[in-house]
Structures are given as structure tokens and as C-alpha cells.
Amino acid sequence: MADNIKVSLSENKLAEGISEVRVDGVIDTLTAGDLAEVMESLIHRERYRIVIDLAGVDYISSAGWGIIISHIKEVRSQEGDIKLANMVPDVYEIFELLEFDNVLKVFGSVSDAASDFNGSNPVKKKD
């Protein structure tokens, strides 16, 4: 298992107000901190509409899921959400097995995920 992770953030690229977090590598105990940092910074800046692109991730441990799950309530209370995109089959199967599909939405592409935000009521926050 590679000990490296790359977390890249692009804001407003998909649509106004939506932040895309692209992760490559393995999200486990050792690497989860990088993702946590990005998520914290987004929420700190009140950017609550987040799409996480998991195309380059082939393993997510509880440390990784914990970061995502622990922020759901907060972003939703601010009419935002965390949506996942491009999950690889291995990750998706565990995702399903753990019944995370009950609390998180998954999309085939980041643009699908982004357009799902527009479907819900659009919010102009002060960002």
C-alpha cells in the first residue's frame, strides 16, 4: 500500500459555489490527515457544497470515511452536501457493504454530482 496521497482542490470550476476535491492514492490512518485538512478549510470558509472525486482512490479506511461522515451533518445544516464521484469498484463494494449508500450520494462523474446540487434548491451563500 502506497503511503502517499494527493489531495487537490479546485473551487468554482464545476459551477459557482461548488468545490471539487480530487483525491489520488490511499486514504488510511497515515494519510487521512491531508484530506481532513482540505475539508476543514472548506468548511471553515463556509464552502459547504463539496464533490469528492475518488477516481484515483483504491482504498479508504475508517479514518477516511470518518472525515467524510463527520462533516455530513454540518454541511447539510448549511444546505450544502458532500457528494462522491467516480468511485472504483473495489471501494464501491465496501461502501455498499458498510451501508454508507444510505447516507452518501454517489455519482458516475463529477459533473453529475455537481448538477445534482443545482437540482436541489440553489443557495447563494456569502462566498
Partner: protein, 681 residues
């Protein structure tokens, strides 16, 4: 439920996150060996990582430790166990974690355990005897979410047992039925054949008469008709003459005089035997018998008869039999299930008990009923539980006690003087070492009034906690009374007055109490049955053993004199360089393997040699030497009694140094020599 394991893998790793990869590697290989599907392997890897991470973080709190992993591969299941020796935690195993609750609270804790529970088929956490085990099992095939619980219950021991019993009983019943049926069929057929044969012979006989008497065709016809009508199982009677021309035909009279053509292909065989004819719709049997008068052959009788009646009868019988068998089996199922329950319930109870037991619950006994064998198991298990429970109680008790003693020891240490006064240019040194965790010896030195110091060494009879408690009290009592008394004797008397009412019966204290006046270098000494004070005279190199009379404290006054009368105070004067040693018998009575005591001679020799060899040497070093020698004498780790001493040495006047060194050798020899009596005062 598990069969014999196919493979077992054991490994141990340091509990560090950097070793997670190695742990996963082993698990991955084991899973691959077992034939687990790839997607299931990655889930299992995740669960193992969660378990191991939990150990590193929570059991060891990132401190040094090891994780032991055991993987046991069975044909259908893999068992994973993670062991650690860290802190145990209480997983929320009562109810499965609710994902929505996690989302609601935004907590991350518990997510790992939630994942382990989701991925594995069963998760147990066992904490006992200093280590914890996280035991997880995963079936190698199929989806864990598809009710393994239901299936397992379906195929519980009871159901399995019932099923197999039923299966075996059914086979036996069916086999017996089948055999019985076959026998009956054969008997019935034989009987029919016999009847048919007998009838045919009768027909043949009568026909023979008819032929001889040249009866008419109508008479022949009537004969066949009457026979076939009175015997409904006969379907055809044909009589032929020697030319095989039909004489009579029970079904078709137009055949008369025509050559006989059998309606079925007749199987070959000798006349008079019954032959079965295979036919599409009817079970027919054929019988042919010659018509003869003596040896003269007159013709042949052909008889065809059906088994329809018998077959119908048999069919009815079979239906009845099946109905009866089914009914019996149904009753049997209930019976077997009840019986199985009766046998299996004790096992279920025992299993449940053992499970509880393994999770640490010791309460509750197994009911002693059921078959003798189960009774035995139950009894043994109850006994084991009780014994283990008791052992655990004892262990807990012991641990508690040793902790208490440790606390007492700590308290006691704080009660001993942590800093001794060093009045003027006196050298003061003290030593105390308890034989057990807590001791009953005491030493103390404190200022009573300006320039006057009280020095005490005491030995409370007995050892351990009781002695130490009295010792603590004693120290306080002495301090209080010493400051309020004019003399050493007065102090001792006051202390005794107090102790008489406050020390447990049967316990006594020996004590040596000295008041040293720094200004005059005079020492006033009283003793309560203690061993003498050693006074080393620096000027002469000799020792005095000063032993003021006095009874031990706490001894009931049964003698003719009171405690007060027994105590006498002795005064001594210290010259420059003199040393006084107050000690307990822990030093002099330290015995070696041969039972030989360390003795006061050795002690004196040590002091003498040390003080004579170099004036520069501090008595701190002397103290160290004494301890070393005593330990060396008794042997390592053997200390029967508390060792305590307190010594004070006056400053040496520089001008007197030389003379002392000169004087010393002769005396030194004298003292070391064991055979000669030591000079004492």
C-alpha cells in the same frame, strides 16, 4: 460448528502504524490461500486495519507494545484474532452501531468498530488475564449480509439431529414396507396360480369325460361358460382336440372347429405351468394343460386369467400402508424433535454458559439435570467456574492488599525523617531497610530544645502492617513527649504511659533513646530492653557497649518492680572523633546459610577498621560498608528482619590525629581476632 482447521498462521508485530502494511500482507496471503474472492479480501483487509489501528491507538495509546495476529483457515470460514496486552476497552457490542447516529453526532469514534462488525460475520472481544483478543470470523464464500444467522439457526444442532434421525427412520420404514409388500404380492400370485392350476385340472378332467362321451358342441360350450362365470378371474377358456382344433371357446363360439390361434404370443414352457403374458392393458397369465384319459391324450385346455382382482386388492393395501406410514412418521417427527430437544437442551445450556463464561461473567450455575453425561459436564463446568471465580476473587483481593501495603509502605517512608539534622560539626548518618514492604523499625533524630537533640532507634515486635502502624504512632508520641520533658528518662516514662493504653496486647517495643547536648558533647541514654549502644572511643580505638537497664515498652508489669523503677539513665561523654551507634538487632542477628549471626564483633571490627584506616573517610561510607557486609553475610535477597541504625560522630580535633593513627594497629588486631574477647566496658 467449525471443522478441523486447514491452516493456522501466527505472527507478531510491533504495535506501530508503520507495521499495518505487514499485517495486511499476511492477512491478504491467508485470504488468497483460502480462496476468498478478491472483493471480499479488500473488505477483510479494511476490517483488520481497523482492529489493529484500534489496538495501537486505544489499547497501547501509541506506546510500545505488540500485536499478535492469529489466522485460522477452515474450509468455509477464516478466523482472525488480534491479541494485545494493552488497556482493554468495552466495545459497544450490545447493539450494532447505528450509522445514522454516527452521522447525527458527527463523531468518528466507533466508526472503525462499526466497519469491523459490518464486514465480519461475527466479532467478539475477549479481555482476560492481561491480554485482549479481538476475534473475528468471516465466511470465505457469499455475502455476509444474507442472513447467516437464519441459516445457522435453521441448521442448528437440534434441526440437524431431527433431520438425520427422521431420514434414517424413514428409510428403514420404507424398506420394511417394500419388502413386506413384495412378499405379500408373491404369496397372492402364487395362491392365484395354484387356484388356477387346480381349476384347470378340474376342467381338463371334466373335458376328458365330455370328449370320451362325445358330447355336443353346446354341452362343451355350457361347460366352458359355467367355469368362466363361476370364476371371474378367468378371462378365457379354450379347449382343443389333439389336432389343435377348437372344441369350445368361452368368448367366441364361432372359433369352434377352427384351428386354435392364441390371442397372445404364448411364452414357451412345459404344460401345467403358469406363464405370465405381457400385455398393454391387463396383467394376464396363461396356463395350458393336456386333456387325457390315462395315457391317452385327448386334447388341451388353454386358460387365460387376469391378476386384476389381486392387483386392485394390492393397490388398496398399498395406499393404506402409505397412509399409515406417513401418519406414523408425522407422529415420529414430533417425537424425534421433542426427544432431540431433551438431549440437545443441556448442550445448548452448556454452550450458552460457556459463552457467558468466556465473556467474563461468572455468576449463575448450570442446572444439574438431563442425562448423566451432561450432568457430569455441567457439574465439572460449575466447579470450574466457581474455582476460577474464587481464584479471580483471591487474585483481586491479593492485588488490592499488595496495593494497600504499597500505600502503607509509601506512607511509612514519609513518616521516617527525610532529613536528619546535622548539629554543629557532628556527622550524622542513618539507615533503614524493611524486611517486607512495611517494617516495624524506627529511627529518628530531632532537636528537642536549643542545642539538644533526641536520637531514637526502636524495634516494634513483629513485622508487616501491624508493626508499621505502631511504629508510626510511636514516632509521633516520642516527638511530642521528648519536647516536653527535661530528661531522656522522663521522655521514656511518658511514652510508656501513653503506650500502655494504646498498643495492641502482645506487642512490645524495644527502644534506645539518647539526648545529645551539642554544647557539652554529653549524651544521656535510656533503654527499654533494646540492644546496647556502641560507643567507639576515637582516642583509644576501643568500644563501649552501653546498655542502660529498662524493660521493653508494652510488656505487662508482672515483675516485682514497675517500668519506672526499671529504667535508669546513663550519661556518657563524647570525645572528639568518637562515634555512637544506635541499631536494631537486624544487623547483628543477620544470619548466613549456616545459621551464623553477623554478630556485634564483626560490626565493631568494621567500624574500627574504617575509622582507623583514614580519618578523612566520612561515616556515610561506613554506613554503606556496614550494609554491604551485612548483605554479604546473609546472602543476596535474604533479609529476615528490618535493618536500622543511626550513628553520630563528633568532629575530630586536628592535633590529635597522629596519635590515634599510631595507636590503632595493635587494637585493631585484637578486635578482629574472633577468639579473644572484645574489650567492652
Amino acid at each position: 460448528m467449525f471443522r478441523r482447521p486447514i491452516k493456522e498462521i501466527n505472527a507478531e508485530f510491533p504495535a506501530e502504524e508503520s507495521y499495518l502494511d505487514s499485517i495486511q500482507q499476511i492477512v491478504r496471503e491467508a485470504c488468497a490461500t483460502s480462496g476468498m474472492r478478491r472483493k471480499h479480501i479488500s473488505a477483510v483487509l479494511l476490517a483488520i486495519e481497523e482492529g489493529a489501528t484500534n489496538i495501537i491507538r486505544h489499547a497501547y495509546l501509541y506506546e510500545k507494545g505488540t500485536i499478535r495476529i492469529r489466522i485460522v483457515i477452515y474450509s468455509k470460514t477464516i478466523l482472525f484474532s488480534l491479541f494485545d496486552t494493552g488497556r482493554s476497552f468495552t466495545p459497544d457490542s450490545s447493539g450494532k452501531l447505528d450509522l445514522n447516529k454516527l452521522v447525527e453526532t458527527g463523531r468518528r469514534g466507533g466508526l472503525g468498530f462499526y466497519m469491523v462488525q459490518k464486514i465480519m460475520d461475527s466479532v467478539e472481544y475477549i479481555s482476560s488475564a492481561g491480554f485482549n483478543e479481538l476475534r473475528m470470523s468471516r465466511r470465505i464464500q457469499s455475502d455476509p449480509r444474507k442472513g447467516p444467522g437464519f441459516l445457522r439457526r435453521m441448521f442448528s444442532l437440534r434441526v440437524k439431529f431431527s433431520f438425520w434421525t427422521l431420514f434414517i427412520v424413514s428409510i428403514i420404514v420404507i424398506a420394511v414396507n417394500y419388502y413386506e409388500n413384495n412378499v405379500t404380492v408373491k404369496q397372492l400370485y402364487d395362491h392365484l396360480d395354484e387356484t388356477a392350476s387346480a381349476l384347470t385340472s378340474t376342467i381338463a378332467e371334466q373335458t376328458a369325460g365330455f370328449i370320451i362321451n362325445r358330447r355336443s358342441d353346446v354341452e362343451f360350450d355350457q361347460l366352458t361358460y359355467s367355469f368362466s362365470r363361476s370364476n371371474p378371474f378367468i378371462s378365457l377358456i379354450v379347449m382343443t382336440d389333439t389336432e389343435n382344433n377348437v372344441l369350445a371357446h368361452s368368448l367366441d363360439e364361432t372359433q369352434i372347429r377352427k384351428p386354435y390361434v392364441p390371442p397372445f404370443p404364448v411364452p414357451s414352457g412345459p404344460p401345467g405351468t403358469v406363464r405370465a403374458i405381457s400385455s398393454a392393458d391387463k396383467n394376464l397369465r396363461y396356463l395350458m394343460m393336456p386333456i387325457s384319459q390315462g395315457t391317452r391324450k385327448l386334447g388341451t385346455v388353454h386358460v387365460l386369467f387376469t391378476t386384476d382382482l389381486i392387483d386392485k386388492h394390492l393397490e388398496d393395501a398399498r395406499i393404506r400402508s402409505i397412509a399409515l406410514t406417513t401418519a406414523l412418521l408425522l407422529v415420529g417427527i414430533i417425537g424425534i424433535f421433542l426427544l432431540t430437544s431433551y438431549f440437545v437442551t443441556p448442550i445448548v445450556n452448556i454452550t450458552r454458559r460457556v459463552r457467558k463464561f468466556s465473556s467474563g461473567e461468572m455468576e449463575g450455575e448450570l442446572p444439574l439435570d438431563g442425562a448423566e453425561e451432561f450432568l457430569e459436564i455441567s457439574r465439572a463446568l460449575n466447579e470450574m467456574t466457581t474455582r476460577l471465580s474464587n481464584d479471580r476473587q483471591n487474585l483481586i483481593e491479593k492485588e488490592r492488599l499488595s496495593k494497600e501495603i504499597e500505600v502503607a509502605s509509601q506512607i511509612q517512608k514519609t513518616l521516617l525523617p527525610n532529613k536528619l539534622p546535622h548539629p554543629g560539626n557532628l556527622e550524622v548518618e542513618a539507615f533503614y531497610r524493611a524486611a517486607s514492604m512495611v517494617g516495624g523499625d524506627l529511627y529518628d533524630m530531632f532537636e528537642v530544645s536549643e542545642g539538644r537533640y533526641c536520637m531514637v532507634v526502636a524495634d516494634v515486635s513483629g513485622k508487616g502492617v501491624p508493626a508499621s502502624l505502631v511504629m508510626s504512632m510511636l514516632r509521633t508520641v516520642i516527638q511530642i513527649h521528648a519536647c516536653n520533658s527535661e530528661t531522656a528518662r522522663e521522655t521514656l516514662l511518658k511514652v510508656n504511659d501513653y503506650l500502655i493504653d494504646n498498643i495492641p496486647p502482645g506487642m512490645f517495643i524495644t527502644l534506645l533513646l539518647a539526648i545529645l547536648d551539642v554544647a557539652t558533647d554529653k549524651v544521656k541514654l535510656v533503654s527499654a530492653g533494646h540492644n546496647p549502644l556502641l560507643h567507639y572511643h576515637n582516642g583509644t580505638g576501643q568500644f563501649s557497649e552501653i546498655n542502660p537497664p529498662g524493660m521493653p515498652l508494652g510488656v505487662p508489669v508482672t515483675l516485682d518492680r514497675t517500668f519506672e523503677e526499671s529504667v535508669q539513665e546513663i550519661e556518657l561523654e563524647l570525645e572528639p572523633g568518637d562515634l555512637i551507634l544506635l541499631y536494631t538487632d537486624g544487623i547483628t542477628e543477620a544470619t548466613n546459610h549456616d545459621g551464623e549471626q553477623f554478630g556485634v564483633k564483626r560490626l565493631k571490627a568494621l567500624i574500627h577498621d574504617h575509622l582507623q584506616s583514614s580519618t578523612e573517610r566520612k561515616i556515610a561510607e561506613l554506613s554503606r560498608i556496614i550494609i554491604e557486609e551485612v548483605d554479604g553475610h546473609a546472602g543476596f535477597g535474604r533479609q529476615d528482619d528490618d535493618i536500622t541504625f543511626l550513628m553520630v560522630r563528633t568532629a575530630i580535633e586536628t592535633e590529635s590525629n597522629d596519635s590515634k593513627v599510631e595507636e590503632s594497629p595493635s587494637i585493631s588486631v585484637q578486635i578482629v581476632d574472633e577468639d579473644k574477647p572484645t574489650e567492652t566496658e
